[in-house]
Amino acid sequence: MASKAPKPDLATLQKKAEARALNFFYGKKQALKNITLPVFDRRVTALIGPSGCGKSTFLRCFNRMHDLYPGNRYDGEIRFFPDDLNLLGADVDPIEVRMRLAMVFQKPNPFPKSIFENVAYGLRIRGVKQRSLLMDKVEEALSSAALWNEVKDRLDEQANNLSGGQQQRLCIARALASEPEMLLFDEPTSALDPIATASIEELIHQLKDKVTILIVTHNMQQAARVSDFTAYMYLGDLIEFGWTDDVFFRPTNKQTEDYITGRFG
């Protein structure tokens, strides 16, 4: 069990990002309704809720992935600190946003290249050319992703030869290589077996001291294990937000309680 120190007051915690009155539309359909939610610095925040509640939609607003497809519209802000930038601003370049926030997807999607090239790609497009520098950063990223020891002798092998859990850790290393300020995890373990899932969760625990993490998961126990804060969403609304301990022990909202205890019908 964690130490018995009382939890810090939310007002004293530093924020890394904050959604403010965020609405989102897929064409005419409103998928997010007036979401205001803080994401605290170097903490893990989990988004839970039933299918279709908008948690992945919300996550993908942060790195402007919706810009890639026609017909999507943002309304509201996501402020990003410390420079208080509005990530959704029309004058803000989505490429710049994606250089600062990295994403790990549900199904591991390494490039059909070598392990080394996978991790190095983010660095290459940031202009890093020197082989020795690339080598160092790739090693650092793979170590942070707890994969270095398993692949250090076969960096030139195809990434697709790795197991599912290893591939996902490779994707995490790839995301970490460019030292993002925030990591976005979109159901990172739903395609993995329990052992791989546990190793990813352990990794998240190690990473959170260095980088802010926002994770979408449909596995409530995972949210309880892994996160400091939990947000429960339903049909595009934010129903409850709070310390994970509180949300899972004594939720204030009956809807949250019903979902968490499996009374959701």
Binding site: F249, I260, T261
Partner: protein, 236 residues
């Protein structure tokens, strides 16, 4: 307490079975206590023997229910109100078992006390009265559990304090008798033990109410004053 249904009917059934087992144990324990006090008042040694023999059942209840709680946690990973229920029940069962122990102790001592001829009608009457009050508390606590009523739980805690005062009066009188009749100290000490046992039963009934508040509200009021309890639980 959340009374709507789980998606898993089996889960609902498991929780309902757990609750009814607790209520059943409560009923048995209440009966044990009643018989024990009756054995003391009436001098019926057969009743006393029955209580002593039946304590085995109470212990079995405790073991079974704790076992069920552990398995429920392993199987269902309950959260929020379900988790508080399971944890609360586990604690309640401990207190119920202690009440059963006290009943057994009273029954065991009743024969020796009666046959000594020491106790006067007054002590018997007062003890019986306080015991009835304690038994009432136990019944109220169990009812509050069944109904999930926060107010009733707080009332039990409040009433337990009143019993404490009555018990002090009785034991004070016993102390006086000990100093006056030192030759009867053995029996008087037994009588003191019975008085204390009744007091402990009231305490355990109050504990049951505290666990119920934990189940309903999630606040741990085991070491809070009555004022604090009322403030904590009635504001949210």
């Amino acid at each position: 307490m959340n009374t709507s249904e789980h998606i898993s009917k089996q889960y609902d059934a498991d929780l309902a079975a757990l609750r009814s087992r607790v209520v059943e144990m409560g009923g048995v324990v209440e009966e044990q206590f009643r018989f024990a006090v009756d054995a003391l008042s009436s001098g019926r040694s057969d009743l006393a023997e029955q209580v002593v023999a039946n304590d085995r059942r109470v212990n079995e209840f405790e073991v079974e229910i704790d076992h069920d709680c552990a398995h429920l946690i392993a199987k269902r990973q309950p959260t929020a109100s379900d988790l508080r229920m399971v944890l609360g029940v586990s604690k309640m069962v401990t207190d119920l078992e202690r009440i059963g122990d006290k009943a057994r102790k009273i029954a065991r001592l009743s024969a020796a006390i009666r046959s000594s001829g020491v106790p006067d009608a007054r002590w018997l009457e007062e003890t019986h009265r306080v015991a009835d009050l304690a038994r009432g508390l136990l019944r109220d606590a169990l009812n509050a559990f069944v109904r999930g009523e926060l107010d009733e739980a707080i009332a039990v805690i409040r009433a337990a304090q009143g019993i404490g005062r009555l018990v002090n009066a009785i034991s004070g009188e016993l102390v006086r008798q000990i100093t006056q009749n030192p030759s009867q100290v053995a029996v008087l000490l037994d009588m003191m033990a019975v008085t204390k046992a009744v007091d402990r039963v009231a305490d355990h009934a109050a504990n049951l109410a505290e666990h119920l508040i934990y189940i309903i509200k999630g606040t741990d009021v085991r070491h809070a004053t009555l004022d604090q309890i009322e403030r904590e639980t009635l504001q949210r």
